[in-house]
Symmetry: C2
Amino acid sequence: MKNVTIRALAKELNLSVSTISKALRDSYEISEETKQRVLEVANRLSYTPNPYASSLRGKKSKNIAVVIPEIADSFFAIAINGIEAVVKEKGYHVLICLTHESFENEKAILREFGSGRVDGVLMSVSSETTSCEHICDLMDKEVPVVFFDRVLDEVDTDKIVTNDFESGYAATRHLVEKGCKKIAYLGISKSLAISNNRMEGYKKALADHHIPFEASDIVLCTNDPAYNIEIVKELLQRKKRPDGIVASVEKLTTTVYLACNELQLVIPQQLRIVCFSNLEIATILHPSLTTITQPAFEMGKSAATVLLKALDKKNNGQPKKQLVIPSTLIIRGSSSI
Amino acid sequence: MKNVTIRALAKELNLSVSTISKALRDSYEISEETKQRVLEVANRLSYTPNPYASSLRGKKSKNIAVVIPEIADSFFAIAINGIEAVVKEKGYHVLICLTHESFENEKAILREFGSGRVDGVLMSVSSETTSCEHICDLMDKEVPVVFFDRVLDEVDTDKIVTNDFESGYAATRHLVEKGCKKIAYLGISKSLAISNNRMEGYKKALADHHIPFEASDIVLCTNDPAYNIEIVKELLQRKKRPDGIVASVEKLTTTVYLACNELQLVIPQQLRIVCFSNLEIATILHPSLTTITQPAFEMGKSAATVLLKALDKKNNGQPKKQLVIPSTLIIRGSSSI
């Protein structure tokens, strides 16, 4: 017997293909009565769904995907602990997928999720991601996506972020208060909103405190650790050398410390540093690292909580929200004698 | 029409249920001719497989699961990079699942994989794992499992390990050569084979160099960071205080350094330390950390390569192997003035 199609079911029931499709996917938009009618005819005609579309039996995969750039950064490791703390109680499994900052990888990963393999996605976009079709396509297939940390503003979904602008401002203001006159900003990507927000906070703090700013004070690093050390050494060997650095990405901690070692620059006496970091070992570095510490665990918990509400259809019709959980400036030896 | 079962197909074809099941799962044990006969009858009778059993169409999930205790440890983050470097070229996606050192979590995760969601599993067992049924059950369902780093000896499968005994020996011998007379060994779990191998290497080195050993020189820490600091402080405040420590787990680096800070013990003058660690920032700690650095990337690559061979059925009939990739002692400031 040839496989019965959705089109044949639609004809049999005198309903649209879209309605049949939503009914089979257990969408909240379709009444229970209609879903039952569709199921009954589908069974009678031996309709065979895509193997991964388990909604026919009303069964979910019970998988949540967490799509993130990397796991070497302690922020993501801690956020995942927060996510798992929430979803495991509800019987979900967490599948972690890494994009390695690649837009192509991110698209390929999300493409896999449209056929029922996961019930929902928590994601932090890659530094290369500039458009959102791959995410919107997934949401159109009734797979809710919630952003945490790195978001795409143009996507209408729930977002859990920290106060990147205020944090960039606070980090810079702290260095100014410690006497810095020329403060550089180190980042990785031009397109990431969080990076831009932190940078804007940095620039506003300079302006508010009448510290001159030049475009060359902003230095973009790469994903190559060895090359980054050279980039930072070049910065620190300029005629008008900075006396303060705001490093907006955790991995740049090692970069800056190693560059200073190689140039025999003493931290903090010759260079004060603040780094956005959740490194547990910030305290045992030499000198101990002043950080903007993000609320990684809380962000993971909040993102997971919001996603579960979406999966339980408890947020039908409610507007999507952006939740801001503030970060903390922790002053240690790298900026303060 | 009621769903046709495997049993009905077996009756129709006069074959055993086991044969039908293997044929549907595209097992290499069944001839192509038999698989075709089974497929033809299954289609004719509109047999509907479990939604996740995609072998009926000869289609694999193209997912590889990596099941590991945690991602905070840099060893696993780097090993994953090695795994992905290999499997992505063959079009596989990597799904990372964390056990958080819990045997129950590990069993629950593996239970999910028996229905076609993943094609193969790379795993490093939790520190609580003491038996192997959950792994053998999965392998019985034709999902190959390859161990890397932390293995279960009793499971007959390929294993990628490092030379834990020799590494424990080398770390200890180094401390003896630096003049240590009382060397403690810090570990996490009693049941992990790698932990025991490292410990046996430590004990052999002490014996070979006529350094006295007492059972209380071996100190087991927990998964609670704050409590671990207290455990180590207690060790360092004994009448017969150790003058050397071999820490067999990366997370204990922070523990030991913080305990020394709190007791104002100077490393390495008053306490020499070697830690098993792949921490990138070992070099910028104060003092810089002497490490046994494991070949994490190579182990990930090798494990993935072996798994892909199993999936391509290229290793049929060949005995399972244990591949040993050696670790390296990197001497830095925490053990050597």
